[in-house]
Amino acid sequence: MGRIFTLDLEGNVYSCKYCHTHLALFEDILSKRFLCKHGEAYLFDKVVNVMVGEKEERNMLTGMHTVVDIFCVGCGSIVGWKYEAAHEESQQYKVGKFILERWQLLP
């Protein structure tokens, strides 16, 4: 499927568990206290090598948010989501940031 474009990260890297494409650096974690249906999820400041899906309104534990699912460019697996908008003032800090589901990641 074409020559896939990926960036290489340097340092402690989280990669996609299926195809090992680099996704984010340990140091870019903003919070480890998120949950998804498969368990733990981390909030990241920056994530690379992902493509985004359609915008959706999702009712989460912390309220209504506008999110887009993110997929690994290497294998297409869904790895988490990105916050596009938050309906509550207290949740604005998440906007523009990414969630990666822990169970999708290596190590």
Partner: protein, 535 residues
């Protein structure tokens, strides 16, 4: 001779009333004289009552051509020049001519007298005076004075246009108009420079390639890259099928397979033509670079490093060295025999990056950071950087080496000027990209267009200057990864796709000429099965 009435002097002509009749007639008269039609020129002056030059200027011109230097300088003062420095410069030129003519005639004492009494006070600096006087003592076989008509020409350039109509003014005005028409022509893509004066020039959209003329099916997997040779006679393509192919462009524009280049054990990500198009480099992804002879198809050499893999390739313009990016971030240079001649360590390139070398062999360009391209001058050992605001996926250098077309994740394409100060010139949008390396290129007559591949299987074409999207070419059934515009034929564009084919695009009118679409098959290879089940 008929005389102009005072009221006629301010007369204007033309539909917009901005053309002064007197000036108009004068530049026509000047053009007639330039073309050699002296009688017509003189007749026009008489019939219109508009003299080309005032009588003082006419006298001045005769005096120059006759060599009446003293009188000409006197006339100069009565012509009506407002600027003292112009009078001074013109007087200097005239007397300098007098000086040199005297010297050439052997009249050294007279020349010295002229220098002392007439020229000295006109000299701009003592250096100038010294230079002139050095002529008195040096001996020269050649004539030092220029011809008198040449002097007249120089004086004409010095004097304001209101005093003496500049040479070729009418030609200049016509050329300006034609240039404006040509620049305004959005679809301008004509090879012929036969712009007529009879009507305004305007190309139609039919000058842009828009129809598939041929589908080339010799690769057995996705085609990732292609590029026409400098002379436009060949096309080289490279594929995920681990091969590269050299195609030949026939005299009738038909493309046929010339050589299939096998040997790589990894997908071939790019190719590079030597300046004389005699050799081709191919790069296997994180593997080796191979050098092939274009006419025989033979592999001449394999360049590799023990350990790191090579990620890009490029020729030095003199054809004696090969450059390659390495996946350890360095760039190295080999001679043709495979001896590593130089190695630039440090972060010079990324794992996925293009490599471009300027025609003078001095600058090497590659993506060295997520959002930046490095342009380093290997001679001057200096570096310049293009900083982008988003991740860069690929780039290409214009043939005149003055511009860089940068593809970003956006997707967006940015045009940068790299000649002198680096600055962003234009942006092109509309195409689609989420996962792949998609390449774009310049093309068309005068490189007036930008073309790009797109993940929606179409070829996108923009007008370079206006950034307007002017064409979306459909036909491929998979992502279009790369496009290349024939540098010699502005009506031929090639595209490489994930559907395993290459399409040759041409003008709508060319399609009518072809009796049927040509399909080229590899020698005994399979074609149709190749793209079943591929995304």
């Amino acid at each position: 001779m008929a005389r102009l009435l005072q009221s006629e002097e301010d007369e204007v002509i033309g539909s917009k009333g901005v053309i002064k009749k007197v000036e108009f007639v004068q530049i026509i008269a000047k053009a007639l004289y330039s073309l050699g039609y002296k009688k017509s020129g003189a007749h026009l002056e008489e019939e219109s009552g508009i003299p080309l030059h005032s009588s003082a200027v006419n006298m001045f011109m005769h005096q120059i051509l006759d060599g009446n230097w003293g009188e000409s300088v006197a006339t100069l003062h009565s012509i009506g020049l407002k600027d003292e420095s112009t009078v001074k410069s013109a007087s200097f030129l005239i007397l300098e001519q007098k000086f040199f003519e005297l010297l050439d005639g052997g009249k050294v004492m007279d020349a010295l007298k002229t220098l002392r009494t007439e020229i000295a006070h006109l000299c701009a600096s003592s250096n100038q005076l010294r230079e002139l006087s050095s002529n008195l003592v040096s001996f020269s076989h050649d004539l030092r004075a220029k011809s008198r008509p040449k002097l007249l020409q120089e004086l004409q350039e010095l004097l304001p246009p209101t005093i003496m109509v500049p040479e070729r003014r009418l030609e200049q005005l016509v050329e300006q108009a034609l240039t404006l028409q040509r620049d305004a022509c959005v679809f301008h893509n004509s090879l012929d420079r036969e712009i007529s004066l009879y009507t305004d020039h305007q190309c139609g959209r039919d000058q842009i390639p828009s129809r598939t003329l041929q589908i080339l099916e010799a690769h057995s997997d996705e085609v990732w890259f292609l590029n026409f040779s400098h002379n436009g006679k060949y096309l080289a393509s490279s594929s995920n099928d681990q091969s590269a192919i050299i195609w030949e462009v026939g005299t009738n524009g038909e493309v046929s397979l010339k050589h299939k280049l096998s040997g790589h054990h990894k997908p071939v990500s790019s190719v590079s033509w030597s300046s004389d198009d005699g050799k081709l480099l191919t790069c296997g992804v994180e593997e080796s670079v191979r050098c092939w002879d274009v006419s025989s198809g033979e592999c001449l050499h394999v360049y590799e490093k023990s350990g790191p893999g090579l990620v890009s390739c490029g020729w030095s313009p003199d054809g004696k060295s090969i450059f390659s990016g390495v996946n350890d971030r360095s760039i190295c240079m080999w001679d043709l025999d495979g001896k590593e001649v130089e190695n630039w360590k440090g972060q010079r390139t990324l794992r996925i990056s293009d490599l471009e070398i300027t025609r003078d062999g001095k600058q090497i360009m590659s993506i060295f950071k997520e959002t930046a391209i490095l342009l380093f001058d290997r001679e001057a050992k200096s570096e310049r950087v293009i900083e982008e605001d988003q991740t860069i996926t690929s780039f290409s250098l214009s043939r005149d080496n003055r511009y860089l077309l940068v593809n970003l994740v956006g997707p967006e394409i940015h045009l940068w000027n790299i000649d002198g100060d680096i600055n962003l010139v234009a942006k092109y949008k509309g195409h689609k990209r989420t996962r792949f390396v998609i390449k774009s290129c310049f093309g068309g007559s005068e490189q007036a267009f930008v073309a790009s591949g797109s993940e929606d299987s179409q070829v996108y074409i923009w007008h370079r200057g206006s950034e307007e999207l002017i064409g979306k070419l459909s036909g491929h059934s998979g992502s279009v990864n790369c496009v290349s515009w024939n540098p010699v034929n502005p009506h031929m564009l090639a595209s490489a796709s994930d559907d395993g084919t290459i399409r040759i695009w041409g003008l709508n009118s060319h399609l009518q000429q072809h009796k049927k679409l040509q399909q080229v098959h590899s020698n005994g290879g399979s074609m149709a099965a190749a793209y079943n089940g591929r995304t």
